[in-house]
Amino acid sequence: MFEQLVGKLPVGICIVNEAYQVIFLNHFFLDRMPSQPAQDYISTPVTTLFPEQAKFLKRRIKSVFVLQHPSFSYWQQRPHIFPFKSSRPITGEETQMFQNMEIVPISSPEHGKLACIFLQDVTAQASYYLAQQELAAALKKEHEEQLALIKKLDSAQSQLIQAEKMASTGQLAAGIAHEINNPIGFVTANLDTLREYGEHLIGLCDALHNRILAHQEAPPIPVEQLLDDYHYDLLKDDMPPLIDESREGLDRVRDIVENLKKFALEDTGGWQSINLNDTLDQMIQLISVQYKTPVFKVTSHPDVINLYCEPGSLKQAVMNIALNAAQAIEGKGFVKIELRQSAVSTSIKVIDNGSGIENQHVKKIFDPFFTTKPEGLGQGLGLSVAYTAIEKHQGRITVSSNLGKGTVFEVILPLIEPVPET
């Protein structure tokens, strides 16, 4: 009975003597070896039967005989000691059997010292484990790729925001440069004229001086003739307005620079309290320099509104909305900004009676890169950046538009209290 049992065990059993000769093989081994009577294998060295791993088997069997202590081998390090196929030759993929092996010392009165090889088919566990490992590796790789992508996107986003800021600042600067060039142009021309006038005046004075010196012996001075020669009347009439005009032009330049400085440059970053009215006045000044046709107007309830915000991003947001409003106006029109503050929120409404937004576009206007402007005249980031900035202030932005009649943007910002310093 025991012989039958050992024969049928679902574990490979191979017993060898000290000369490595096989003295017993169970069915597990026999079924997987070239079919010939079991008797034919007896007394053949196990190293001859399985030459692929002869060296390893010999070493391990020797160690068991010498040490009289079990020896182990695992599929992770040595997956296929015996050249057996996996247990599912028909339905499964036919692969080599993954094996765990244990060799234990035994003995019998007939043969003396023996070594018994137990062979376990661990293909199922091994392929499960390997699949898991592969899956884990794939997941890890994917995860790393995603992380890299997110990082890339993050940096792309901040680059875009920076680019947009540069673009809208650039656009503003271009308009302002134009407006500064104008007064500089006429102040320069005026100065040239004034220089010429000055020469005439000096000439006149010199001539008068000479005549007065010569008067003792010369006939009386023909003053009228002299004044006429030096265009004195023209000088007298033209010089004050020229100076006034130049002065006014320089004042305009100074105002623009002042506004630009206040609005755009004094941006220290971080959250702080600002006077919203002053900020918007400066902004309107800057925009109106460039967009001359619309009438700009700011109303405020109450008269003074202070807002705790991050000035840099908020100004950029409102500026982008207001610039869009100004650009929407062709010919006569108005851009009106209504400020309202309640106990819980602040609202900034930008109303224009410009061309309006097509219905199909309304949903997309906050999408990055969406633009209806001709190529080269905008990246389509202005409102997207505004949206992000308002989100940062935990606020929301809404739009309603009537094609051909105008558009209303409303930004509502919840009241945020400054965090007391700890």
């Binding site: 160690s63 040490l67 009289q68 202590h69 079990p70 081998s73 695992y74 390090q77």
Partner: protein
Amino acid sequence: MNSVITLSEDQRDALQELMNISMGQAANSLAHLIETQIGISIPKISSVTPSELFTMIKQSNDGFYTRQSFLGDIQGEVMSVVSHHGLTEVASLLEYEAPLSQADTEETILELSNILAGACLAGLSSQLELVTNLNMPTLFSPNKASFVDLNWQHSLVMEVQFDIELSSFSMRVVFCLDRPSLIKLTETLDELLS
């Protein structure tokens, strides 16, 4: 339940001597197999907390770790620390061909652990006339957190060290017994001493 089990001076001395004899047998077996002389240390017997055990095992970062459990009259675990240094030479003594693959290295570590821990345990068991069976060793990497979480407070450990001077290879083997086995061990030691 978790009080410190202290060995009397006689018990400790006896256990140390039995370990010494077992180590001699283990070293001789390995020496015979690889035809190289093995140095053996004086065994250290001590009672440790889990974090002390961790410190004892993880003395340096230069090591491979294996553990294997044993069952029978006394039960516990053996942990071995195998030095990186000299491992290639020892593997070649075990007839592995250089350069070693990852699998060869792992197999060498597992085999060395199995041989030395197995021989020590077999020697100890036979002297005490106890039956023990060692299970297959596995590689592991000890980490402090999982040691601190162990649900015992004190354990008796026996630490021995083997060296192969020629290749400056060394290996430490730490035996840990569970509580019932400790009681069984002390009883057996007492019988031996009487």
